[in-house]
């Protein structure tokens, strides 16, 4: 019933004019849980964003979910129901790191390559078959390549469904971008 209202909720800045914190972050055990939680919350229509954690909780390969703090109880309940409860909920007190949103495309004639951050995906134009995945440094990259190379964009599993790291997440962004271009 409230889903449509939630979807229309505007994103506001981390602090309102009075300086009060109005955004919080959800912290999870690992990146896989963040990806699952993002899927559950977006499916339910919540206005959330995947962001980088503040320096004091960075470990090297992590994501957090930024959300409207006033909705904490509802969102945490939703996540419990989805079996991905957060480790903690922290108010946002400083700007968060934003994921990369810059894509680079290279046209090889018969092939098309898209790069997002450190990840590249290349397809054959004639049948949209994934022919190579390159870049990255986290251990799910070789696994994702193994699962995806040789399949068409329509057949291939989504990196966000199989990936567990920021490299996997970046590959998902590249995957989305190359799908948009086809």
């Amino acid at each position: 019933m409230f889903g449509s209202l939630r979807k229309k909720k505007p994103q506001s800045s981390p602090r309102d004019k009075a300086g009060a914190v109005d955004r919080g972050i959800l912290v999870f055990e690992n990146t896989s849980e963040v990806i699952q939680a993002e899927k559950a919350l977006k499916k339910a229509g919540w206005a959330i964003r995947v962001m980088g954690p503040p320096p004091e909780i960075q470990t090297g390969c992590d994501l957090v979910i930024e959300f409207p703090l006033i909705e904490e109880l509802n969102i945490v309940r939703e996540l419990r129901q989805a079996h991905v409860p957060p480790l903690s909920v922290v108010p946002v007190t400083a700007p968060l790191l934003a994921p990369v949103d810059l894509f680079q495309t290279k046209d090889y004639g018969d092939y098309l390559m898209v790069r997002a951050a450190n990840m590249k995906i290349t397809i054959a134009k004639k049948d949209q078959r994934i022919v190579n995945i390159s870049g990255g440094g986290c251990p799910d990259v070789p696994y994702l390549a193994w699962q995806m190379v040789g399949k068409t964009l329509a057949e291939a599993p989504r990196p966000r469904d199989l990936g567990h790291t920021l490299c996997g997440y970046a590959l998902d962004l590249a995957f989305e971008e190359i799908c948009r271009k086809c």
Partner: protein, 289 residues
């Protein structure tokens, strides 16, 4: 002895270590048969192919299955923390591992406790952790591609995923990114920056560039960065100084691409097969001292 540390995308592979061989196009490590098509196995296959041409030290691999959850990487980190001092290496190369600063620092303590400090090379996830730890200058060589160089140049980014846009826009200005990475203490003493032009950097000075032969399709082929790191490991082990080894490795990797005549759909194994030819073409065939 050369040491290589990394992961295999197969959870059935336990933590294994020992002398590694290339048998019928697969790695053979403690009886485990591992495909070489990407990641650390591709690095090792390139290194072993080079080893056939260059009579350098043998290669000892430390591998564990990990598909991104990090459990395997943490088991390997723990093992290295406890056992690294039992080994002696001329070169120690770290590769696909879950970036984790705390574990990185524990491994660095173990390295400092080794009887003789090896030449340290970091690539892929371990390079990310090395940068984030603030200990990049403790490494002898990093091997970033241009996207990863932008990450090294961004002093705030804990992972390439968070490299700020205004820095990513500079990827056509590699010398500026090199200066920025060095200025913020986020570069190893030597860099081999892989790209359309390969840059070899010592401290903050570009000492060489390699751009021939130029094989455009190589950028798309997964594993071509891994093979250059494998070549670099072997060439350092053969006694070349890091910058000289980086120039040779960059050249040889390009020649491997040239001989394979690849398209963007070619798989890295086709390039690995050409490494003996490539080393000869790059001028590094036979014994390098």
């Amino acid at each position: 002895m050369l040491g290589v540390v990394g992961t295999v995308p197969d959870l059935a592979v336990p933590l294994i270590h020992g002398p590694v061989r290339l048998v019928d196009g697969h790695l053979d490590l403690t009886g485990h048969r591992i495909p070489i098509n990407r990641g650390t196995p591709a690095l090792l296959a390139a290194a072993l192919k080079a080893h056939e041409s260059i009579q350098g030290p043998d290669i000892h691999a430390f591998l564990v299955g990990d598909i991104g959850k990090g459990e395997g990487s943490r088991r390997l980190y723990r093992f290295l923390e406890q056992h690294l001092t039992e080994h002696r290496f001329d070169v120690l190369t770290f590769h696909y591992l879950q970036p984790d600063v705390d574990w990185h620092n524990k491994v660095m303590f173990a390295i400092e406790a080794m009887r003789r400090r090896p030449i340290l090379i970091a690539d892929a996830g371990f390079m990310y952790a090395a940068k984030m730890s603030g200990q990049a200058p403790a490494y002898d060589i990093f091997t970033p591609d241009v996207g990863e160089l932008a990450f090294l140049a961004d002093e705030t980014a804990p992972h390439p995923f968070y490299t700020r846009g205004f820095i990513l826009h500079e990827t056509n200005k590699v010398p500026d990114l090199i200066q920025r990475a060095c200025h913020h203490g986020n570069a190893a003493r030597c860099l081999l920056v892989k790209g359309a032009v390969d840059y070899i950097v010592v401290r903050d000075r570009i000492v060489a560039t390699v751009d021939q032969p130029s094989v455009e399709a190589m950028e798309a082929i997964g594993g071509t960065g891994d093979t250059v790191t494998g070549l670099l490991t072997v060439l350092c082990g053969a006694g070349l100084a890091p910058a000289d080894a980086a120039v040779f490795a960059a050249r040889a990797n390009r020649w491997a691409g040239h001989h394979a005549n690849p398209t963007p759909a070619t798989q890295v194994g086709a390039l690995i097969d050409k490494i003996p030819l490539a080393l000869a073409a790059a001028g590094a065939g036979g014994r390098v001292v």
